[in-house]
């Protein structure tokens, strides 16, 4: 295979690397470890973290793009022009099982009536069997038993995986605390551990059960039905995870350097620097966000139309549009963080240890890097996690009014957009909408809960009063 690195992939991996670096950095410093330990002790926060990491795994898998190798034609290596990701390979049956049009979840017959030609040549109107959904069944009436068997199989597999996970985790914990395996297990089950492992394991078990059932059932049935063009909805929802996560995280990554640099510069240097930067962010923030996004998206369209020739593939084009959307969203969100950081830097520069550093003649550059930045990082952290859920929701809304991601890109917004008129049909086509909303809701809820835990741990002043 031939690896392809889309622009957003690169940025996403940079982001992951930064996160890994931060984790390493924080793990060696007690003042950073303490708040994270506090986050880890919140049962709801940890459950949310498990859900978030499941989403993250999907997004990472979906960010490893490559051109698949075509069948050998005489020793010469040939690659498909199509770009696929590791996720596509893992869920290949979902991607390949394309029906002609809508079909309900677990359906074996088509959604719409068609003319069916019987074996004896006579024609009648009816619901033809689906090409893939339940195609392995000899008799469609067996569907219930087949589904039950496959579900049980999936649950059993998930159960084994879960048992293995519990065993390994408890063994690791027991070794760390130098306790017996049984004692540790009892502690975990009773919820007597500092980190609420019981909640973590239960959440993981729930996720594993879902994954297990999907693994055994999804290749044979459309678990969440199919959309208008017959594509599997579960596949689309999974592919949308990357779009959603990318918009939530890359936007922050793109705007972070500006917000930090300008915020600190304004607060630390004051004087005319402060005036200029304040003017800049007041001006930008006085334009209503959605209008600025609309204007920028419109201009992006003109720009894309002008440079049509420079996009090698549809994926590259959609990718650029996603990146541009992140940047535009970044421009509209950085002002808030910048204002906070300015205020914090204003306070910090008068603090004794920084006055002392200045008195010793430490250069500004060093003061900022060594003293100011470490002391404002908690604000940056809080704002990253707090912004995330809003950005994921914004993507859906913006895509609906045509200023979001490219229509060819899988995203929850596009799923909702193309499915919303289908509620007027009889019988109602509800599965596409519901899938998009449930996937989005789970992610945003987990993000909100996790964000609250992080905020409470990192900024006691912002903690909600009890």
């Amino acid at each position: 295979m031939q690896v392809v690195l889309l622009k957003t992939d690169v940025l996403f991996f940079v982001l992951l690397a930064l996160a890994a670096f931060y984790a390493f950095y924080a793990s060696r410093r007690e003042h950073l470890r303490a708040p994270w330990r506090q986050v880890a002790e919140r049962p709801l926060g940890m459950a949310a973290a498990v859900v978030l990491s499941a989403y993250l795994v999907v997004a990472v898998l979906d960010s490893c793009h490559f051109h698949p190798r075509l069948a050998d034609n005489g020793g010469e290596q040939a690659y498909s022009s199509e770009i696929v990701s590791l996720l596509d390979v893992l869920v290949a049956p979902l991607r390949a099982n394309v029906e002609t049009t809508y079909s309900a979840p677990f359906a074996v017959r088509a959604y719409a009536k068609e003319v069916i030609v019987d074996a004896d040549g006579s024609t009648r109107r009816g619901y033809p069997p689906l090409e893939h959904g339940g195609a392995h069944l000899a008799d469609p009436a067996d569907r219930g038993a087949d589904l039950a068997a496959r579900t049980a199989q999936g649950l059993a597999g998930a159960g084994f995986a879960w048992a293995a996970l519990v065993t390994v985790l408890v063994a690791v914990l027991a070794r760390r605390d130098a306790r017996g395996w049984r004692a540790m297990l009892a502690a975990v089950v009773a919820g007597r551990t500092r980190v609420p492992w019981r909640v973590v394991l239960l959440t993981a078990g729930l996720l594993l059960a879902l994954v297990g059932v999907c693994v055994t059932v999804a290749p044979y049935y459309h678990v969440l039905g199919t959309d208008k063009t017959g594509n599997d909805v579960l596949y689309q929802a999974l592919k949308s995870v990357r779009t959603g996560l990318l918009i939530g995280t890359l936007t922050t990554l793109v705007m972070l350097p500006f917000a930090i640099a300008l915020g600190i510069a304004a607060g630390y240097f004051r004087g005319w620097v402060d005036d200029v930067i304040q003017y800049l962010y007041t001006t930008l923030s006085s334009i209503p966000g959605v209008l600025l996004i609309a204007a920028a998206a419109l201009m992006l369209e003109v720009y894309m139309a002008r440079n049509e020739a420079s996009y090698t593939s549809l994926a590259a084009r959609a990718d650029l549009r996603l990146l541009a959307l992140c940047m535009i969203l970044g421009v509209t969100t950085w002002t808030g963080l910048c204002r906070y950081l300015r205020g914090e830097a204003l306070k910090l520069r008068e603090v004794d240890f920084i006055s002392a550093a200045r008195a010793f003649g430490v250069p500004h550059r060093v003061i900022i890097v060594r003293h100011i930045i470490p002391n404002i990082m908690h604000i940056v952290m809080i704002s990253i996690v707090l912004d995330f859920s809003g950005l994921v929701l914004a993507e859906a809304a913006l895509t609906y009014i045509d200023i979001g991601v490219d229509p060819s890109m899988e995203s929850w917004g596009n799923m909702i957009n193309s499915a919303r008129l289908e509620l007027a049909r009889e019988p109602v086509v509800w599965w596409s909408l519901l899938a998009a909303f449930v996937f989005m809701f789970t992610l945003v809820l987990a993000a909100n809960v996790f964000a609250d835990a992080v905020r409470d741990a990192f900024d006691p002043r912002l903690r909600e009063v009890r």
Partner: protein
Amino acid sequence: MIAYVIRRILYAIPILLGVNVITFVLFFVVNSPDDMARLHLGTKHVTPAAIEKWKSERGYDKPLLWNTAREGADRLTDTIFYRNTVRLFLFDFGQSDSGRDIGYDISQRMWPSLAITLPVFLVGLLLTISFALAIAFFRGTYIDTWAVVLCVAMMSISGLFYIIGGQYLIGKLLRLVPISGFESGLVAAKFVILPVIVGVVGGLGHGTRWYRTIFLEEINRDYVRTARAKGLAEKAVLYGHVLRNAMIPILTGVVVVLPTLFLGSLITEAFFGIPGLGSYTIEAIQSQDFAIVRAMVFLGSVLYIVGLILTDISYTLVDPRVRLD
């Protein structure tokens, strides 16, 4: 006070000028008018003459900042920047790219917008503040915990879900009101009810949680303890002391959005087919009408700045300690 307001208005001028420069750069420097013309006319089979004609019809054929072909003041005024951007300061929005008078359109379309946003704002404010006060009354109990959980869950649901769900449930299944559309006059009520309900419910989670935090912050203050110590009933404490003192943080968030209510909501209006300014903007985006989008960006900024000034003025009204000078 009047001097303060005048000074604030003067401060607003450079900011609005900045907004204009941003839109100008976005619309005319990042992409040249030629690109816009090509997007409108199509990239293939388009003659340079057609592009020139498109540009001259809309006044985009002039130099950007400095017209060397003219004499005197015309050098500055007969340019794209002056004609399409500076004139916005006089609220002279000019003509849209399709030849309609933008100022007239805006004056017509802001009323439907207001018919939705104003009830959503008022009812929403009333409900969220009442809920938040009730939760604050039960603080520390299970009711409080579960109310917060409910708020977070409601916040996590996409606004689109509320709209689509509301349309499906109330419009299609129960057939209580039309799913979308608008009429002027009193008949409008039946079209307005559904978007208002959806708007209020959609904002409930976030609003309630936000006001709860504000109230709880006030509840832990010394003056509340004093009020309780002198034997006031909890109700009197909440309404008489906490609510009144919480007015300042509440006002910060509330007054600033008042003027922007005129702009309507892009998404709600698009879904419910309401001919307000929100759908005006969306139509402009979809038909790539640059003049309208520019006008709306400017108008939005003006209204936001008006909101900021109103916020400051309202402080003096609710809090005698605040003096503006």
